[in-house]
Symmetry: D2
Subunit: 323 residues, 4 copies
Amino acid sequence: MVSKIKHIGIFTSGGDAPGMNAALFAVAKTAESYGIKLSGIRRGFEGLIDNDLIPLNSRQLQRIMHLGGTLLKTARSDRFMTALGQQKALRTVQKNNLDALIAIGGDGTFRGMLSLANIGNTPFIGIPGTIDNDITGTDYTLGFDSAVNTAIKCIDNIRDTAESHNRVFLVEVMGRDSGYIGIYSGLSCGADSILIPESDEDITYLLNKIKNYDSEDAFIVVVAEGDALRVEEVMSQIRNVNPHIELRVAKLGHIQRGGNPSAQDRMLGIRLGVLATTALIEGESGKIAGFCNNKPSLSPFEGLVKKHLINTELKDLLTLFCG
Amino acid sequence: MVSKIKHIGIFTSGGDAPGMNAALFAVAKTAESYGIKLSGIRRGFEGLIDNDLIPLNSRQLQRIMHLGGTLLKTARSDRFMTALGQQKALRTVQKNNLDALIAIGGDGTFRGMLSLANIGNTPFIGIPGTIDNDITGTDYTLGFDSAVNTAIKCIDNIRDTAESHNRVFLVEVMGRDSGYIGIYSGLSCGADSILIPESDEDITYLLNKIKNYDSEDAFIVVVAEGDALRVEEVMSQIRNVNPHIELRVAKLGHIQRGGNPSAQDRMLGIRLGVLATTALIEGESGKIAGFCNNKPSLSPFEGLVKKHLINTELKDLLTLFCG
Amino acid sequence: MVSKIKHIGIFTSGGDAPGMNAALFAVAKTAESYGIKLSGIRRGFEGLIDNDLIPLNSRQLQRIMHLGGTLLKTARSDRFMTALGQQKALRTVQKNNLDALIAIGGDGTFRGMLSLANIGNTPFIGIPGTIDNDITGTDYTLGFDSAVNTAIKCIDNIRDTAESHNRVFLVEVMGRDSGYIGIYSGLSCGADSILIPESDEDITYLLNKIKNYDSEDAFIVVVAEGDALRVEEVMSQIRNVNPHIELRVAKLGHIQRGGNPSAQDRMLGIRLGVLATTALIEGESGKIAGFCNNKPSLSPFEGLVKKHLINTELKDLLTLFCG
Amino acid sequence: MVSKIKHIGIFTSGGDAPGMNAALFAVAKTAESYGIKLSGIRRGFEGLIDNDLIPLNSRQLQRIMHLGGTLLKTARSDRFMTALGQQKALRTVQKNNLDALIAIGGDGTFRGMLSLANIGNTPFIGIPGTIDNDITGTDYTLGFDSAVNTAIKCIDNIRDTAESHNRVFLVEVMGRDSGYIGIYSGLSCGADSILIPESDEDITYLLNKIKNYDSEDAFIVVVAEGDALRVEEVMSQIRNVNPHIELRVAKLGHIQRGGNPSAQDRMLGIRLGVLATTALIEGESGKIAGFCNNKPSLSPFEGLVKKHLINTELKDLLTLFCG
């Protein structure tokens, strides 16, 4: 098949997520198989503004596709929020004869791509890369599974010490406004309680359970960072119903962003990288490359960039295991 | 909801798989929420024949749900292949007033359940637990994701030494007749070549690639144990096309069966355990509790117990990355 | 050899540390080889006060010796600080005919043993079990190496995201008043700066380095929790010399206490368990079972329970790598 | 201090070992602090013969010091066994004005350095880098601790499946003629039996134990690859004394060579790198940079390059735990 695309530019933007390097590798491999040149733009929109490009090839990426982080580095860009920044970005696209763009990032990244599309007419595809799993158009975002696997290893460690002391632990996990990392890691570690933004009953469940906590065992509470109640408020509410409890807090923080990607995220990065590249070659644009119902699938950009809700099945599990 | 089921028996059978303890935990939690008694049958059909039962409760299982292996132990049973064995198994069911059974295992386990169903009339549900991902009725079997994650950690290690020496490695992974572990772990590690039972071209791809191998880099071949060509034959074919190559072999073996389950397998064990238990309560029987298109789903037993084929999407990835 | 000791009691006290189960296994194995009965006292001095004993045997411990935490559970005991508590503890020793005691814990534990020795005359040996490495009489305490290995895996993860964003991270590690975990994990991860209680120049090194930080790379600061400057103070001092720096903080916390022990801690637990048991059999008492200069070695208790200082060699490494 | 050394060449040779990159980082950091230029020689003696040099600096090495393998790659060199090869190597040293050399490798590497010293007069220091721990002049070689930690994770996995099936496993670990990896990993995993080259009774212990094995539990045998009895012979001897045993074999192989180095190996690499560089600066030559009795220490080369024996303490542990 003959494609009008001779040169693709790719960048990673927003928070880094494990699996981004695997996606870069897959894009390079696919582009090469079609004789398409691939350039990497460094530091997301910042590099697009500053014309900071490097050539990419699959052999070099093959050696690092299993590593966390992103070879292209990433950034949040205030300058791109301005008309001037977007003009400069557009000039970079034109100066380098980029026929198409692939952006790996979260909702902010995709909004940026839409703004760029409004002033230019370069075809582009977005790959949802964020540990938060808060993008529609895919069942799982790139990096989510790795972040959950990192979180459960940490919580398993905490279980060891919690059980040795019969202690109550509050473990805060990442996810911004999304409870996905919270509910997945909490259920996966047999947490006694899980607090997520998408549930209101969860705190009631917790207080009912811990009211009668007898210090005869460990008690682990997983709190999603986006929950309405911050960890400190949860602590004081717990103390209200059971004053004698000794509480310990662990905020897992940024370690959830790093580490070698899990098998699922490497496969996802590969699948989405291949899908994004072939979609551009087939003339698609303004789509998100996702994985839905266990199949690669393209979805239109517009309206997609909203919160990915915890569904009923997961809420029922929350009630069953923590209610 | 009132269910006629007052007592459920559960066992794990065939090869153990990470996530089995998580499934046991979920079944116990669900049964308790319905006031149903749960008994564990030890060593699969062997324990059913020998009336080797233990009581199970969710609090005890909560502490070990994150560990590999199976608390109930597992076994392959020749005695159950006989009419006498099956009669004894049936007697155990009756003697203990087991109103329903949940079996966690592979196709052999499910064939056994069908035989038992032919002589008794105890409702039963099967949970596909095997690292091989070779059961239909579910997109992923319990233990598969953990086995792949263990395999990729090993292959990442091998990459370190392969690149330090610019060496060619043949890595044999498990999967019996299925190439799933092979293709997932191979793609996830940027393998140069992957040999699976479901492909005939793969060996041609390998020989074409390695013919011109210049010893300037690592070269990693992942071989699924079920591939028509055994590792030794692959080695001799490689030597035929490129006599100067120094080959190293690594057979990952049983380490792929153990270790703490991955997040995906813990979630899968929880989901399938809940689904199997509620299905029995709702009067279902002779079904497999699976996870398809990102949703829990029941499928009829009959005809299901056949090989789970590598689909076109995966074969295309194989051609793109190793062709 | 005939020993007057027929029954040994063992307990873990203070903070739990990976390797405690390996030590229990080794004590059981050694005691059995001499036909000595072994009882486990649960929850440290609390169980000694409450007469909470369980029988221990090596076969059961062999299966869990590789797991983190402590089978006997552990606790800090206020009651044991009182004369009444110590009398009750002594009564438990007498009632159960315990001929000798082995205590696994930190300096607080050992002070407690000395108090008990003042009122009773039961022979006892202490095994230094704490992740902080702040006990003399051994080059490394039980759990230290595991905690450092957990810390470096976390810091490696943080490096992935720090380099993807060219960010400055402050990582707080455990160690109470000791900088051992800080200096070992910091050096092992190529930290740009390490702040430990034992050094005064370290903050000067940090400020000199970061004054000219150009945001062209990651910059990782490891802060030992016992350092005079709390993380928050360090942040404000950094902002004083370089106001434009975006800082991120990660407090590793209790995950450093858990997880399966490292090989070194399993070997150390085995070695100290064997040494403590044989020492009691040979009539020793009031000693610490340690590992010094790569050999098992007993040291008298008195005066030993003081801080384990960072030596010159380590301070020189700090200056070379972070100065 | 003023040193006559202005330019150091460093290479890694023989089998790669985790921690080599940490040693390179430490050498670069130390050299820079003295204003000394550092060049890396690629592929060991091969690169010395082929004049394959690259500049090294600490900032670049800081980012990869935590990774397995070796940035400089490594090789075994037949050409260096010849007078011609050694002449070419010497010419590379002279052509590049290398005032001193640091070689990281095993006994073969050190013998090579002695040959080179016989024809040239370039000062050199050796750093013992091998997972086998078979070099004298240091208590632990670089890579040993990482290999043991990899081995125990694998054996822990095997324990999961062995206990689920009550199976007997033979696990072969690396170590060439040395039983160090075998005895450390075996003891650390609670192996029932350990076979190492340094012991003759070990097979008797095994056969006595397994004679009465009742299939009521797992039974794990760790076999060092250098043991007089190959795994296959051990299997047949086991079958002789207990014909009904179902045996499983796992050869861990090259995965023990790779992976990110453990904390101990990173610290060791740092310490030996600093020691080797400062030793050269202080005018030392023909020494091994080692770590003995918990201190960095230099030892003369001659006669050192012989087997590192398992001492009595370890043999007594073998008898106690497996006898």
